[in-house]
Each structure stands twice: as structure tokens, then as C-alpha cells.
Amino acid sequence: MLLGPSLAVSAILFSLGVAGVLLRRNAIVIFMCVELMLNAVNLSFIALAQQLGPQGQVIVFFVMAVAAAEAAVGLAIILAIYRHKQTVDIQNINLLRG
């Protein structure tokens, strides 16, 4: 019954996350927008799990574990870059440019 509305809300939240990644220059805020996208996908997994069986909920469990690992490593990278460049603005972070 809630499948259609849930997929619609999930679509809106995912698009807001994409727009946020394109809109912001602060690396930490971009990172938070990625978390928002992960959560939008989790919502559609849960909505479909209600119809197709509990395996979808297990996938959400794994997504959460991966998101936790990603947040720890990503924030450590941001910390290391800040120590090196004194900024988290992605305009000034071009270490990989030749």
C-alpha cells in the first residue's frame, strides 16, 4: 500500500542528495549529501522488502555497515587533507591534478 509513495519519497530524497553534491563545495557537506543518497536507497529497499520478503532489510543492514566504514575512512581522509591544505573547500583540493 505504501510502496508507491515510498518510492516517490525515495526518488525526491535521492535527487536532493545529487543536487547537494553538485551545489556545495565543502567536502564534509558533500559527504553528508552522499549519506542522504544512501538513505534514499535504503528507503526503497525497505519499501520493496515489505512486498518481496525480508531479504531487502538484510541488504539495508549491509548498506549501514558499509556507510559506517565509509564515514570513518572518508572523514579521516578529510582530516588528513585539512592538515595538509588548511581547507576543506574542494576548489582548493587538487592533489591528484598533474
Partner: protein
């Protein structure tokens, strides 16, 4: 009734997600994102995923967002600096691509799994009432997905070691 509660949570989630991507201060963004995650936990309860909703509050709104706030405050980014929003060309591109993606995803919102694949109405709710909400997920987790579950522990160990190596000044 359920649909009304759903739309209240959905409205709060969408509005606070919008505020999250438009507020200038990273601390305000993080706090709005926490509100989004809480409303999503409410929606998860309505979708018969009570255990995942509890994990959402504990792991996401609790642990991960505290980590974000901790780093923001460690780097002293909370003060109002120059805005990090892109200029008008960037905003237009972001809005256009966001709307395009939303339109594409909106088109599949009415998609529903085929009848023969679908569980009977309220099957998960009955299962979690009979066996408890944790049993619904743990049964699949520790039978079909046992090896991925064990691999998750290796992933978390790698993340811990990686975070320490990256963030430490001198090993």
C-alpha cells in the same frame, strides 16, 4: 491513518533534506540531516521494519552523525565563513540535473513487483508479530547471508585500521 502519518514523516524528511543542502553552516546542515534520518526511521516503522528503524536511530543518527559533527567541530568549521554554495551557474546545473533525475525516478514510482513474486498483504507484519521483528531479519541474515555478514566484520576492521593510519600524524 497510516498514510497520513507516512506523509507527515515524508514531508519532514523532504523539507529537512532541502534545508540540509541549502544551509550555509555545516553544523546546521548536519542537524537537518539528523532530522531527515529520524523521519526516515519513522517511515521504516510504518513499512514493518522496526529493527532497521532502531538501527537507523542508533547507527546513523547516533554514531555516524556524531562522527560528522565531531569532525566539523574539530576543524572549527562551525563559524559563519564565506558561503560554500556554488554561484548561479552551478546552482542552475544542480537544480536542472536534480530535477531531471527526480523526473526519471518519478516515472518508476508506480512500478510494482509482479503478482506471483509478491508476498500476501501484511505478510512481514504478521511474521514480525509472530516471531518478533529481530527474527524476521536475523533468519535471513544468519542463513542465506552468513558469509557476507562475516565479510562485513573484515570490512569494519579494515575501516578502523585505515582511519587510524590516515588520521594519525605519525605512526
Amino acid at each position: 491513518m497510516v498514510l497520513g502519518v507516512f506523509w507527515v514523516f515524508a514531508g519532514v524528511a523532504i523539507v529537512s533534506a532541502f534545508l540540509c543542502i541549502t544551509r550555509r553552516s555545516p553544523v546546521a546542515s548536519a542537524l537537518w540531516l539528523i532530522l531527515t534520518l529520524f523521519s526516515l526511521a519513522g517511515i521504516f516503522v510504518l513499512l514493518d521494519a522496526q529493527f532497521i528503524a532502531a538501527l537507523q536511530v542508533l547507527v546513523y543518527a547516533g554514531a555516524i552523525m556524531v562522527l560528522f559533527l565531531f569532525v566539523i567541530m574539530l576543524l572549527n568549521l562551525g563559524r559563519q565563513g564565506p558561503s560554500d554554495l556554488r554561484g548561479w551557474p552551478g546552482r542552475l546545473v544542480a537544480a536542472a540535473l536534480g530535477l531531471l533525475l527526480a523526473a526519471e525516478l518519478w516515472a518508476v514510482r508506480t512500478w510494482a513487483p509482479e503478482e506471483h513474486l509478491r508476498l500476501p498483504e501484511g505478510a512481514i507484519a504478521r511474521m514480525s508479530e509472530a516471531e518478533g521483528p529481530v527474527h524476521v531479519i536475523s533468519d535471513a541474515l544468519f542463513r542465506e547471508y552468513l558469509i557476507p555478514f562475516e565479510l562485513t566484520s573484515v570490512l569494519l576492521l579494515a575501516a578502523i585500521v585505515g582511519a587510524v593510519v590516515l588520521a594519525k600524524r605519525r605512526l
